[in-house]
């Protein structure tokens, strides 16, 4: 009688893509049921574009911004939109880890960790959901920018480059947020830490200001700030004029994205060891 219990066939293990796909499916359904979250987070870029566009409007007259496009709004909005695009990515990505903290507190995380699912599939499924949200938000930001008077002479190809760079930057910040969430396991710690990083990362870069207009020490910091790399690449794509060291910046962002992913993977393993 007892032998029956041990000879019942166990189901075969799901393939990696099925696993990641099902994790993604879960997060996407949850996103659609709570779509106000990503929508609300779009109010911020609207305010930034309108506010900064107005406040810093006169900057557009400076020679650093190049000749006006003649659209009447001045070219500062052209300069600003790629910066706001990356800023949105930063703010949105910094929150990516909150889902894990909810899962740890509710017990859903224990289910993942006791099912035959690859840890990389858990991380990847959730990351892809974040990147999809991020892509949708980026498209909306570009649309808002266009309505505010910005033009994208780089064309479709350039827009795709800007979106690709935004995705790279999102990967870095989502994975970092995930790693911090799995380590700190507290929403408050995660949010305070992101606030601590996001604002300086934005202002110590060329998000809103060309480096010529900044003090020298800020210029030095900005040169090595990944935010600067992303903003300048995005600006290059949208304007059609890429920065000289563009390939180095792409390589830098790619390496950081890979490192951040590894960090997230190590964090989920460290989390399990601590249970």
């Amino acid at each position: 009688m007892t032998a029956i219990a041990l000879t019942t066939a166990a189901p075969s293990r799901a393939g990696w893509f099925t696993q990641a796909g099902q994790v993604l499916r879960r997060w996407l359904i949850a996103t659609l049921r709570q779509v106000w979250g990503p929508v609300m987070s779009l109010i911020q870029p609207v305010i930034w574009i309108v506010l900064f566009g107005q406040v810093f409007h006169s900057l557009g007259a400076l020679p650093q911004f190049g000749p006006s496009t003649g659209s009447g709004t001045g070219s500062y909005v052209d300069y600003l939109v790629p910066g706001i695009l990356m800023m949105t990515v930063l703010y949105s990505g910094a929150w990516a880890g909150t889902g894990y903290i909810d899962d740890i507190n509710s017990g859903v995380m224990d289910q993942y960790l006791t099912s035959p699912v690859a840890r990389s599939a858990i991380i990847t499924g959730q990351l892809v959901q974040q990147l999809i949200i991020n892509l949708a938000q980026s498209l909306v930001v570009l649309g808002i920018g266009w309505l505010a008077g910005a033009r994208y002479p780089g064309g479709i190809g350039g827009i795709l480059v800007a979106l690709g760079v935004a995705t790279l930057l999102a990967t870095i910040f989502c994975c970092a947020s995930t790693a911090v969430a799995l380590t700190a396991r507290s929403q408050i710690a995660l949010i305070s830490l992101s606030q601590l990083i996001v604002l300086p990362a934005t202002f110590l870069s060329t998000t809103m200001m060309p480096s010529d207009l900044m003090p020298e020490w800020v210029q030095d910091v900005a040169r090595w700030n990944p935010m600067t790399w992303a903003v300048e690449l995005g600006r290059g794509g949208l304007s059609g004029t890429y920065p000289d060291n563009g390939w180095w910046q792409v390589a830098g962002l790619t390496v950081l994205a890979a490192l951040a992913f590894v960090w997230a993977m190590r964090s989920i393993r460290a989390y399990q060891r601590s249970v």
């Binding site: 166990a10 099925t18 049921r33 859903v108 006791t114 099912s115």
Partner: protein, 346 residues
């Protein structure tokens, strides 16, 4: 490993390292036991006894500091993936996403565990039906009652037809009606020969009704293992219980010491209520003698009851008494008392 055992645990030790001023905790201290396949196995003990830690190690969630264990024939440390494919686990927390519907949750749980898309749909529908959740299957789980959610958690642990099902305190926090419904589900599952159920609980009644075999643990060690009947039979004679009102433990003890034929005397004083429990070979004589002694000493008391041994008495005998903070003297207090009171209340 013997073939007829679903679980074999040898000398399990788990030490949670201290952090800062918090000292290290030795949750398991050399726990060894085996679980026969196809039965409902109850893991019983007071809070902090190591029940959940044991479950976490056997489900591969947590790694043992020492010792080894096999589940469904696979070693938890060497082959965690094989163990995970063979088990279902209902933890004390939730298993499902509150934003997803019951059906979505079950389908995703099944697909993640290797069930094909078509089978997952059929399996989810059948489980929702079996667990009385078919009508609510398209509602987000966040709108479910506590009892519905716990039933769904059990269903989610069964989607891939596991060989060993772990239920960690499945009825804690449920109202009596939901608890009765959950018991019915677990009894139904116990009829399935191919399934071994490991049930963690600190409710005596639950263990008595559901478990074929029980393991009583305390302070990370095995206290006793056996079927409920065996454990009860091991306590000779009858049990005597007197509920006390605003008791003075010392006065009660003094009064009771004059009554002959009482064993295993335990006096509990928690706030305004208390319990006097004892064992005796002649219940009818002892009831009168105890009432007389308490009256003579002017001690206020309520109900007096004599009965055949229950699991409460087994628990009291092994945890409240032998392992209590004041071994032998019988006056309860501290952690043993808290757990005992809980058991009595249940």
């Amino acid at each position: 490993m013997p073939e007829n055992h679903a679980i074999v645990a040898r000398d399990l030790v788990k030490v949670y390292p201290g952090r800062g001023r918090r000292p290290a905790v030795r949750a398991l201290d050399g726990l060894s036991f085996s679980v026969p396949a196809g039965r409902v196995f109850g893991l019983l003990g007071p809070n902090g006894a190591g029940k959940s830690t044991t479950t976490k190690i056997l489900t591969t969630l947590s790694r043992p500091t020492g010792g080894s264990a096999t589940v469904a024939g696979h070693d938890v440390a060497a082959a965690p993936a094989a163990v995970r494919a063979a088990i279902g686990y209902m933890s004390q927390g939730a298993s499902t996403d509150p934003l997803l519907t019951a059906r979505e949750n079950l389908e995703i749980a099944a697909r993640l565990r290797g069930v094909s898309a078509g089978d997952a749909r059929g399996r989810a529908a059948r489980l929702l039906d079996e667990f009385g959740l078919a009508e609510a299957s398209t509602r987000p789980v966040g709108s479910f009652s506590g009892g519905m959610r716990r039933r769904l958690d059990v269903a989610a642990a069964l989607v891939h037809r596991p060989r060993v099902l772990f239920l960690d305190e499945p009825t804690t926090g449920l109202d009596p009606e939901a608890r009765a419904a959950m018991w019915a589900e677990i009894r139904r599952l116990s009829g399935q020969e191919a399934l071994t159920v490991v049930l963690t609980t600190h409710y005596m009644e639950e263990a008595d009704r559901l478990a074929d075999e029980l393991l009583l643990v305390n302070k990370g060690r095995v206290v006793v293992q056996g079927t409920p009947d065996e454990l009860k039979a091991a306590l000779h004679g009858d049990s005597l219980r007197v509920s006390l009102i605003e008791p003075d433990a010392a006065a009660v003890r003094a009064a009771i010491s004059r009554v002959a034929g009482l064993r295993d005397v335990v006096i509990e004083a928690t706030g305004v209520d208390g319990v006097l429990a004892a064992r005796t070979d002649d219940a009818s004589a002892a009831v009168g003698a105890v009432i007389g002694a308490l009256d003579a000493a002017g001690i206020r008391f309520g109900q007096v009851a004599a009965s055949h041994p229950t699991l409460d008495d087994v628990y009291l005998h092994f945890v409240g008494h032998t392992f209590g903070p004041s071994t032998g003297s019988g006056t309860g207090g501290g952690s043993g008392t808290g757990a005992l009171t809980e058991g009595v209340a249940a």
